[in-house]
């Protein structure tokens, strides 16, 4: 009886989900990744996982407990981590590599560039702890340049999921798709919302549209996309209709959606937990300026280093909040041509 009541209440919560803050379901991207790896481990016998002393944080430890012979810890040595992954992939292995985004991309960038990307190796780099959402650890562990530096490498594809549900979709996709990928995960638990869209699917090079409107467009990536969704719903209440895209496929990017939305809405806001230089904002601006120049405002980390604090406080400090998104949309609509 109690169980039945609980089930009913969960269903109620799910129905009320959107827009009601109290009812937000939270889920961990990292755990979703670890769980998905186990599932894939059973399906794909030649899938192996490598980590660099952070398996309990990146959650590849889940895979290790299930497949101890297929998980390899390379110690605090990210350069060699990437090289070993590259080598193992040459012996017909599908290799998932994990560390913090800072070290996976920063420390080992040249290994990714010269070996993994150039030779199009079957190495899937899934990094956790991206952006200022890392929180208290401070700037040294907050990767706010990873999209920029990996996006600049030919052959690399860059995906940035918005919630735990999308993490699983993306991990499944890259496991079966040959070649190198970079997937950017967040440390913090974040709202689960994409599973409420019946028509959701992950497509490489395609953004998923979350709302329709012609007053402005938001392209948002990562867990902050939920703030954008909240902002869109608030704006709707005052008669402003904003088109919102979940821009998880940062490279390849969804040119068609960008160009079409630029034409039809006349202004664009980008939202990301990343430096405004080189990230989603830059990627969108590149497409807009070459095809259909309109006013673009980039919300993100304004080319400064992060700092210690609670993730929520840091989001507020850098304007990655529902309220600030609303303000920026109003500004854009006022100033667009």
């Amino acid at each position: 009886m109690v169980r039945l009541l609980m089930k009913m209440s969960i269903k109620k919560q799910q129905k009320k989900l959107r827009g009601i803050k109290k009812m937000i379901r939270m889920a961990s991207s990292r755990d979703a990744y670890g769980d998905k790896l186990i599932e894939l481990g059973y399906k794909i016998p030649n899938l192996i996982v490598m980590d660099a002393d952070l398996s309990s944080s990146t959650k590849t430890i889940k895979f290790k407990s299930e497949f101890p012979d297929r998980h390899f810890n390379l110690g605090v040595a990210e350069s060699n981590l990437m090289l070993f992954a590259a080598g193992a992939s040459l012996t017909n292995k599908i290799v998932f590599v994990s560390s913090f985004a800072m070290f996976a991309t920063g420390r080992a960038w040249e290994m990714i560039r010269n070996t993994i990307a150039h030779d199009r190796l079957n190495v899937k780099i899934v990094a956790s702890h991206s952006g200022v959402a890392v929180g208290e650890d401070g700037y040294s562990h907050q990767a706010t340049e990873d999209i920029a530096i990996i996006r600049a490498i030919p052959e690399m594809k860059v995906f940035s999921p918005a919630d735990a549900f999308e993490v699983q979709k993306i991990i499944e996709y890259i496991a079966y798709k040959p070649g190198p990928f970079y997937v950017r995960l967040s440390r913090e638990n974040s709202p689960l919302f994409l599973d409420t869209y019946d028509d959701y699917e992950f497509q490489e090079g395609k953004f998923f549209q979350l709302s329709d409107g012609n007053d402005a467009t938001i392209f948002s990536t990562g867990t902050v996309t939920y703030f954008a969704l909240e902002a869109v719903e608030e704006l709707k209440k005052i008669g402003i209709n904003v088109r919102l895209f979940n821009a998880s496929s940062i490279k390849p990017i969804d040119k068609d959606s960008i160009i079409k939305s630029a034409r039809e809405t006349g202004c664009i806001l980008t939202v990301e937990d990343h430096n405004i230089i080189g990230g989603l904002g830059s990627a969108v601006s590149e497409v807009v300026s070459e095809n259909c120049p309109v006013l673009v405002k980039r919300l993100g980390i304004p080319d400064v280093f992060g700092t210690s604090g609670k993730p929520k406080e840091l989001f507020k400090l850098f304007g990655l909040t529902t309220d600030n998104i609303i303000e920026n949309i109003k500004y854009l609509i006022k100033n667009k041509k």
Binding site: F72, L74, G75, N80, L83, F84, G87, A88, S89, T91
Partner: protein
């Protein structure tokens, strides 16, 4: 009678050696040719490794030029990727592609890039050029083979300057940790790097002690002496051990061309016409 047979053996083995020395000279000539044609490239470190690579391909490495991705092949990785002229020469000499193609080295549109490109050249397992990376990839291949229960061997050639790279020691540590006994690293100790003598730029000795402390078995040889090279490869293949092996080979940078020998300026420079003629004459005389 017994003596006569022994003499006959000696005669044949001398003939065999003669063939080998001729082939080795031929490879040196092709290296000089291709670098001269290209107008740039790295003759010094290509010439110092000739015997080490020649003996490996001649006798120990399992490969099939008509099927470069043959599943049972051994892997050879040139971590000192700047010795590309040597790798291309040996691959073409062994039939992976036409020797004539060596003339296209470093030219626009050629498969033979300044540093080896695995997407372009059959027989190149992984692209190298950025020092240290080939070594780590070799470790990863060895690990992949080991966990698949395969008996293929992995050989990787490094330079002594190259082991200044930090990632080399990350790799050395991991290979020791994972007991990659199917891996044989060969370090060409020619004692020179771009800026001068290795010992002056950043000393790397004692190399064997360093590797031993990282869990490797080691042997030090003269890298131009065919008997010593043979013994070293046999030692790797025959001695039972759970450790990765490193052959530390003392060589002469620019070996075979007197004016290139032990001169760091010939690390990455092509000979002009006069130098080319002189170099070719010297190699043929050998």
């Amino acid at each position: 009678m017994k003596l006569k047979i022994k003499g006959l053996f000696k005669f044949f083995s001398k003939e065999k050696d003669l063939r080998k020395y001729k082939e080795i000279s031929y490879i040196r000539r092709l290296i000089i040719n291709s670098v001269f044609n290209a107008g740039s490239g790295h003759p010094g470190g290509s010439l110092s490794s000739v015997e080490l690579v020649y003996v490996l391909f001649d006798k120990y490495l399992k490969f099939d030029p008509s099927n470069p991705k043959w599943e049972d092949r051994d892997y050879f990785i040139l971590s000192k990727g700047h010795a590309a002229p040597l790798l291309y020469t040996i691959l073409s000499y062994k039939g992976f592609f036409d020797v004539k193609e060596l003339e296209t080295l470093r030219k626009l549109g050629s498969r033979l890039q300044g540093h080896p490109d695995a997407l372009k050249v059959p027989g190149v397992e992984v692209s190298t050029g950025s020092l240290g990376q080939g070594f780590g990839v070799a470790g990863g291949i060895a690990l992949g083979l080991k966990i698949s229960g395969k008996s293929n061997k992995v050989y990787v050639l490094l330079g002594d300057g190259e082991i200044q790279e930090g990632s080399v020691w990350e790799t050395a540590m991991a290979c020791g940790h994972y007991n990659l006994s199917n891996l044989c690293a060969i370090i060409d100790v020619n004692k020179f790097q771009i800026d001068g003598k290795v010992e002056n730029v950043m000393s790397v000795e004692p190399i064997e002690k360093k590797f031993e402390s990282f869990g490797w078995r080691t042997i030090r040889i003269n890298g131009h002496n065919l008997d010593e090279i043979n013994n070293a490869y046999k030692w790797f293949l025959e001695e039972k051990s759970n450790k990765p092996a490193v052959i530390v080979a003392d060589t002469v940078k620019g070996k075979g061309v007197s004016f290139m020998e032990n001169r760091s300026e010939w690390h990455g420079k092509a000979p002009n016409e006069d130098e080319y003629k002189k170099a070719t004459e010297e190699i043929e005389r050998d």
